[in-house]
Structures are given as C-alpha cells and as structure tokens.
C-alpha cells in the first residue's frame, strides 16, 4: 500500500517496484553489452529510445485505463487507423501541421467510439475492445486495399526531427504528456475519481462520483495519446503497413503491468510504466542484436506478463505480508 502513497507524492519519486525495474534495465544493458559488440553504442541507445516513443504514449493511456479497472486491447489498431489518416494527408502533400492535428483528432474520435461501446453500452471493456479490434483490423485492410501506404514525403518527418532548445521534439512531447497525465492523475479530482472507480465502481457511485463521465473521458484521453503516437509512427517510418500495431496492445499492457499498475484497478504507477516500456524495448533490441529472431519478441513479452502476474498472485496468497498484518 505504501506504493500508492509514494507514487503520489512526487513526479519522479520511486518505490520498490520502480527501483527493481531500473535495476533490471541496467542489468539487461550490462548483459547485452558483454554479449554483443554492437550493443553498447550511442547509435543503438538512440534506436532503443526511438523505438520506445509510441509505446510510451500508448502506455500512459493504458495506465489510466487499467488503474480505472478498464483495458483496451484494440489500442494498436486505433493507432493504425490514425496513422492511415495522417499518412493520407501527408501523402497528398497536405500541410504537416494539418497532419499533426489529424492524429489526436482521429484518436479522440475512436476513443469516443470505444467509450460509447464500453461505457454507455455497458459491454465489459475486454470484450468490447476485442470486438472493436476485429472490426478495425478489417477496416485497416479495406482502407489500405491490401497494400502498404508507403513512400510518404518527408514533410512530417522533417517537422518532428527538429529540436527545441536542444531537446528533440519526441522527448519534449513525451515529457509534456507524462507531466500532464501525472498532474491529472495525482493533482486533480479526475485522478482521484479514476482511482476510486478502479477500486470499486459501486462505492465510487455511492460517493457521488460522476462515474460515466470519468470513464468516458479516460477512453478519450487514451485515444488522443494513441493518435499522437500514430503521428510519430508515420514521421519515423514514412509508411503504414498492414500489420501496424498488432503487438502494441500486448506491449502496452505488459509494460503497464510490469510497472506495478494493478490489473484489477485502483493502483498505478506512471513512472513504472515508463520503466516497463524501456525494459521491454531494451530486451527486444538486445535479443535481436545477439541473434534471436524478432519472431520471439512477443514470446518474451508474453512470458514476462504471465511471470509478473503469476508472481503477484502467489505473493498475495502468502499469509503475512506487511500490508495484511497492518490491516488485521
């Protein structure tokens, strides 16, 4: 329980889980550095960070969703749909500034659709978003006509590859997103309400919290963050492939759970999510460099999630943890 308080007390204050993640990251880096001569280079460090951008943004939204007792398994394909919209604008030589607006806008709209199904339609989030995943996957296929959206001009890339005051734009955007989400979660009534809903929706309602409003808004926020992620995706790769975002939901949920957010809701760590994303990307990159085929990446992610949840389930069953003693 002390994790709840510590995560809330400062923007970057660390609890035990977060320290362990940091140690795990450093350990992985040390091992890969020994195992591969190509690993410990500045270029590779930039690659790992670069590969983390979209997942960091999606992960922040997913943290809010899980903390609220929700989930969105369609999030990767939402990024795909937003990427197609951005790609079409950039491809038609539209203004890159219009493309900048299009991502968050499409994300927000799709967030509204998800919220309509899950919140207003009262379909359990896991089932509702799984259904949307099927629908959207086909929509992506139909929109792309079975082909990659490729050879996009570099207008958006040029815009986002710049630096402001010496800081790369992606780093700046992530810093702003992190701070905004942190403030919303830890310093506004919205964040308090979200955590109360994650603990028990019924009790939250009895306490006079506008449950529907808070849940709806959270799906929209997650959509907006995913739309921003899509913008960076298009800017980086300058194409949209058919399988876009197929591992994003697994990666995001894995990173959030690794970070110490409860799958049952009510407890979360944004810093943990950031470290969880970095650990995933460090492992994926490192395994690739020591010659493990990328096909194995989802296996590693999946095993990590199952391992962490399994470990938590077992440790919760042990009789006398400090927390339980304090409650007794």
């Amino acid at each position: 329980m002390s994790a709840v308080r510590q995560s809330g007390s400062g923007v970057f204050s660390m609890n035990g889980r977060e320290w362990s993640l940091l140690v795990a990251c450093l350990l992985a880096i040390a091992i890969f550095s020994v195992a591969s001569p190509h690993y410990a280079t500045p270029g590779n460090a930039v690659t790992v960070l670069r590969n983390s951008v979209e997942l960091l943004l999606i992960g922040l939204g997913m943290t809010l969703l899980l903390a609220m007792g929700g989930i969105d398994v369609s999030i990767g394909i939402v990024m795909g749909l937003a990427a197609i919209a951005i790609g079409r604008i950039v491809g038609a030589d539209g203004s890159p500034f219009v493309a900048l607006v299009a991502g968050p806008l499409v994300g927000a709209l799709l967030g509204c659709v998800t919220a309509a199904v899950v919140v207003l339609g009262r379909v359990p989030a896991i089932v509702g978003t799984l259904g949307l995943l099927g629908v959207y996957r086909t929509a992506v296929f139909a929109l792309l006509g079975g082909q990659w959206l490729s050879g996009l001009p570099s207008s958006l890339t040029d815009l986002l590859a710049t630096t402001v005051l010496g800081i790369p734009v992606p780093a700046l955007v992530i810093a702003v997103a992190y701070l905004t989400v942190w403030l919303a979660l830890r310093r506004t009534p919205y964040g308090l309400h979200l955590l109360a809903i994650g603990n028990s929706e019924e009790k939250a309602r009895l306490s006079g919290i506008p449950v529907i409003k808070v849940r709806f808004l959270t799906f929209v926020i997650s959509g907006v963050l995913t739309g921003i992620a899509a913008t960076f995706y298009v800017a980086t790769y300058r194409n949209v492939e058919m399988s876009i975002g197929s591992t994003s939901a697994l990666d995001a949920i894995a990173a959030v759970i690794l970070g110490g957010t409860s799958i049952l809701g009510g407890r979360c760590s944004l810093l943990g999510t950031v470290l969880g994303v970095l650990l995933l990307r460090i492992l994926q990159n490192g395994l690739l460099l020591i010659g493990v085929p990328s096909l194995w990446q989802p296996v590693v992610t999946g095993v990590l999630v199952i391992g962490v949840l399994g470990f938590e389930a077992v440790s919760n069953r042990l009789p006398l943890t400090r927390f339980q003693r304090a409650r007794a």
């Binding site: 310093r187 009534p189 309400h193 955590l195 028990s200 009790k203 939250a204 306490s207 006079g208 009510g266």
Partner: protein
C-alpha cells in the same frame, strides 16, 4: 427540549402486497442518540432507507425543521443534511483518509480553467476533524486499506461530518468490530451527538444501546411498538418489547 430536526408522520412502506412499515411516527432531535431496536424484519432497515432517500415512502410525510421534504434519491437526502453510514462502508481502500473524506466533494482551485485539488487544505481539515473526534489516527495521508474496522468507521463519520450532516444514521456500526474497537466507535457516536448532530443508531446489541442511546425506539412487525427514554427503562423491558412478550405490545397487537 430542543425542536426536532426531523419528524416522521404516519410513514408506511408497502412492497406490493407486503406491508413492511405502517404508521410510524418519530421525532429525531439534534444532540440526541436515538437507537432503533427490533428483530430481523421488524422494519428498521426499511425505515432508515426512507430517511436516507433510498426508498420513497408509500404513505406519510417527512418534515425537516418543520418543512415537508420528499427525497427522490440519496443525494436529495444528503443535500438536506442526512448522512447514512451503511454497514458496508462506501470507502475506497486505495485512497487516503483525507481523499476519502472529501471524495466527490473535493476542495479545488482553478488554474487555467483546470480544477486542481487543494491537498494541503483538505489534509488540514481532516486532521482537525480527526482530532476533534479523538479518533487516534495520526496520519490523514494513510490509505484507508491500512486501517482497522473501527478506524474506518471513524473515517466514515468524518466524511458525514464534512458533508455538514445534521443527522447521521449508523447501521450496525459495531457489528464487525472487536471489543476495544466497539468502545471507540461508541465513544465517537456520543461525541457526534455532543457536537449537536442527531444520531440514529441501529444495533442488535442491547447493552451497547444502553451505553450510548438517549432514547430507544422498538420496531416490531413493521410498527413502532414502543418509545422509551433510556434512563427510564431497562434491559429486560426492552427485550420483552422486542420479542412481543411485553403487555403493552400484546395489547397493541390485539387491537390491530
């Protein structure tokens, strides 16, 4: 004697053909602990649900400070100053004491149109309330999940006080508590009344009732069968009123 905060007149509640409550007249006064006693199914719960705005009465009227009121929801009742602390406390275990006390009615300041929590101020207010209640909770930042059952009752009482409740209804607050904890909650109940709050206490424990209540009302089969000042009755009489062995109750039940 002070004017009653709430007056219930001829309150009745029917669920289809079943009459759960009939002809209940009751006055609840500020600064007084009123105990509702009765067997299971006697109508106590139905009655407090009407007071809490959870059920509309089928008949009769409720007056608050002389004015007739009709509650469409628990929110209406809360707006009239009635707070109900249900047995299953509606507290969020993952949030702190201060957050729970203010949940749904946070103090906030607007910066660029965005509402931010006034955390220091809320903490201070809760600190003050906890001290006033002598609740023996030192840290308003502690998560409610780490508290004992009695301390959680204290938090629920703080929440009611913070909502400026004038009438606090407590549904078996000590049912799940150990002896020492029960003592503390009973002391809290007394202090609540000492602050000028009207308190309605539901309990199955008669000696507990004698310890805190000023007045005792007994329900039986959906009717109010007796009302006594705690100082003018005793354990045996109350038991006979509850079970129906008391001559007054027999006479009443014959005429009905």
């Amino acid at each position: 004697m002070t004017a009653p905060f709430l007056v219930a007149r001829n309150i009745a509640k029917r669920f289809g053909a079943l009459t759960a409550l009939a002809d209940v007249d009751l006055e609840i006064r500020p600064g007084e602990v009123l105990a509702l006693l009765g067997d299971n199914g006697a109508g106590k719960s139905t009655f407090i649900k009407i007071l809490a705005g959870a059920h509309p009465p089928s008949d009769g009227e409720l007056l608050i400070e002389g004015k007739a009121v009709a509650f469409a929801s628990p929110k209406d009742a809360a707006a009239s100053g009635i707070a109900t602390i249900f047995q299953e406390l509606a507290l969020s275990e993952n949030l702190s004491i201060a957050e729970n006390v203010f949940l749904g009615r946070e103090l906030k300041r607007s910066i660029f149109g965005i509402p931010f929590l006034k955390r220091a101020e809320m903490r201070q207010r809760v600190d003050g309330l906890l001290q006033e209640l002598d609740a023996h909770i030192s840290d308003p930042e502690a998560p409610v999940g780490s508290l004992s059952g009695g301390q959680r009752q204290a938090v629920a009482i703080c929440r009611a006080l913070n909502l400026n409740a004038r009438l606090v209804i407590m549904d078996e607050p000590t049912a799940a508590l150990a002896v020492a904890e029960t003592r503390k909650v009973l002391a809290l109940t007394r202090r609540l009344a000492g602050r000028g709050c009207a308190v309605v206490l539901i309990s199955h424990n008669i000696s507990e009732v004698f310890e805190v209540a000023d007045r005792i009302v007994v329900f039986r089969r959906g009717r109010k069968v007796a009302e006594r000042l705690a100082a003018e009755t005793n354990h045996e009489e109350v038991v006979s009123l509850i079970t129906g062995a008391h001559p007054d109750v027999r006479a009443l039940e014959k005429t009905n």
